[in-house]
């Protein structure tokens, strides 16, 4: 990671905490402007690899946007505001399925997404069922069967 790259990344989220870890640069910015991030990372030649959702105790979801370019991995960690974050799909097409999956698993809303239809969620489970599994796991657990 060159100095100019680091400066460009820092400019995306001026109030962020930047950590250089063994698996790349981590930018921790709870109030991140994700649309500005998507535009700038696209301009810098980074590819959106995926997003990771993490259920938070207050009902919000932490989201990590993982970007990759030759020799560089950058991870932006932010959180939803009122259960939502603007969709980055209009800027980065690769975000489409990723945001649909996060919606299925964590119930996050992405205003601006062109088609936020269920992707992987089985019809009998409600949106955000990963959250249910963490909070009320018995609802997703079948009765244990012991060998007779």
């Amino acid at each position: 990671m060159t100095g100019s790259d680091t400066a460009a990344l820092a400019a995306i989220a001026p109030s962020a905490r930047i950590e250089h870890r063994r698996d790349g640069v981590w930018i921790i910015a709870p109030d991140l402007d994700v649309e500005a991030m998507a535009r700038e990372m696209n301009r810098l030649g980074f590819r959106l690899s995926t997003m990771t959702g993490l259920a938070q105790a207050d009902g919000e979801t932490a989201l990590i946007y993982h970007f990759v370019a030759a020799g560089r991995a950058v991870h932006f960690k932010t959180r939803t505001r009122g259960g939502a974050l603007p969709s980055i799909t209009p800027i980065l097409r690769a975000g489409s399925w990723i945001e649909r999956e996060v919606r299925d698993f964590f119930g996050v809303r992405f205003p601006g997404h062109p088609n936020l239809a269920p992707l992987l969620r089985p019809a009998e489970l409600r949106e955000g069922f990963f959250r249910d599994a963490a909070e009320v796991p018995e609802q997703l657990t079948r009765a244990r069967t012991e060998p007779s």
């Binding site: 690899s49 020799g71 992707l119």
Partner: protein, 359 residues
């Protein structure tokens, strides 16, 4: 007249359970939409409720083809998180098995592609070679599919006699070079069926964010082995394979040439196998609180794992992103304006794995 034809989720034209809705005007494809999720197993959730060691058995079953890729990536994420240094010999063995896995995956795909274009003799040749790779994997690990080679901090089994493996691979490499590569890249049968079909331009490849052989066939030189090097790929002199056609033929050529590169890498890894232990410790240490990611080049492209720990007996979060999840949506761009009869071949050229995609 425009009409929509649903292919799948269970259909002879598809190797895997997913649905391709094809809207046609005459024989020309006007629009495509893809539906997945028919094999959703909730492996990420299960991994968060299973122990660190048991998770290896679970995660190996994300895919029946690139199973070692998944355990390797999970182990690498955990080892990064816990700052575990893996012995060099273990990393070489992991790398050799990763490349053997790529070999049998690519040969499987070459066989399927041959069958799709009606090239039955090449299908049989490719599957014959793939069977020999499976035999090698069985001789190393005791298993044909889920090898059980990885453990956190190293590998479970040593490779004590690499010479016969190297000799067999060299013999296979000669057959691939003499028969398989020319049959796919020079024969009129293959070229007339695959050239210009299902084109994904370099600009489209970037727009859709595709990875692995699909991206490299469109001239995008991206490969985790060179972009974010791990293991001993730099020491082994890894060479990235690219083509510029962006069509089915280019995707075939990339995989065929990567078979040769994988054979070279396995031979190099086994010939330079460093002495020393094959695991950093016996048993399983406590995994401290923290988070980490790992990237590995699976046969179909980049696999990424995110692992978080709260210091407990199970991971707090395991996120799995497989390459097919990224490549399958680009079918929309590849099939637009193509002949309906070419859709089965085009979707196959992505080498879609729904076991991986749905998890």
């Amino acid at each position: 007249m425009s009409y929509t034809i649903p292919i799948g989720p269970y259909h002879p034209a598809l190797e895997e359970p997913y649905k391709v809705n094809v809207q046609c005007g005459g024989d020309t494809v006007q629009a495509v939409s893809v539906e997945v999720g028919y094999s959703f197993r909730g492996i990420e959730l299960l991994a968060q409720r299973t122990g660190w060691v048991q998770d290896l058995t679970l995660i190996e079953r994300v895919c029946g083809i690139c199973s070692h890729t998944h355990t390797t990536t999970f182990c690498r994420a955990v080892e990064t998180l816990a700052e575990i240094e893996v012995p060099a010999r273990a990393v070489y063995i992991r790398t050799a098995v990763l490349e053997l896995e790529r070999l049998h995956s690519h040969l499987l795909w070459v066989g399927l592609a041959s069958e799709y274009i009606g090239f039955q003799s090449l299908f049989m040749e490719a599957f014959n070679l793939r069977e020999r790779v499976m035999d090698l994997l069985e001789s190393i690990s005791g298993n044909r599919v889920h090898y059980g080679m990885n453990r956190i901090g190293g590998v479970n089994r040593d490779i004590t006699d690499p010479d016969p493996i190297v000799a067999q691979l060299r013999a296979m490499g000669e057959i691939v070079e003499r028969d398989i590569v020319p049959s796919l890249t020079e024969s009129p049968t293959a070229m007339s069926r695959m050239r210009g079909v299902g084109v994904l331009t370099a600009a489209q490849a970037i727009e859709w964010g595709v990875i692995g052989p699909v991206a490299r066939a469109s001239g995008i030189a991206t490969d985790v082995r060179s972009d974010l090097p791990y293991g001993f790929y730099p020491e082994l002199g890894f060479k990235i394979v690219t083509q510029t056609g962006g069509d089915v033929l280019a995707r075939v050529a990339v995989r065929a040439l990567e078979v040769l590169e994988s054979i070279r890498l396995v031979c190099a890894a086994l010939q330079d196998l460093p002495p020393g232990p094959i695991r950093a410790f016996e048993g399983m240490p406590d995994i401290p609180a923290g988070e980490a990611t790992a990237f590995t080049e699976a046969p179909r492209g980049e696999a990424i794992y995110y692992v978080a720990s709260d210091g407990g007996a199970t991971p707090a979060r395991v996120k799995i992103r497989t390459p097919s999840f990224v490549n399958i949506p680009a079918l929309e761009a590849m099939t637009m304006g193509q002949q309906f009869g070419d859709v089965p071949l085009i979707q196959a050229s992505v080498d879609p794995c729904l076991s991986c995609t749905d998890r």
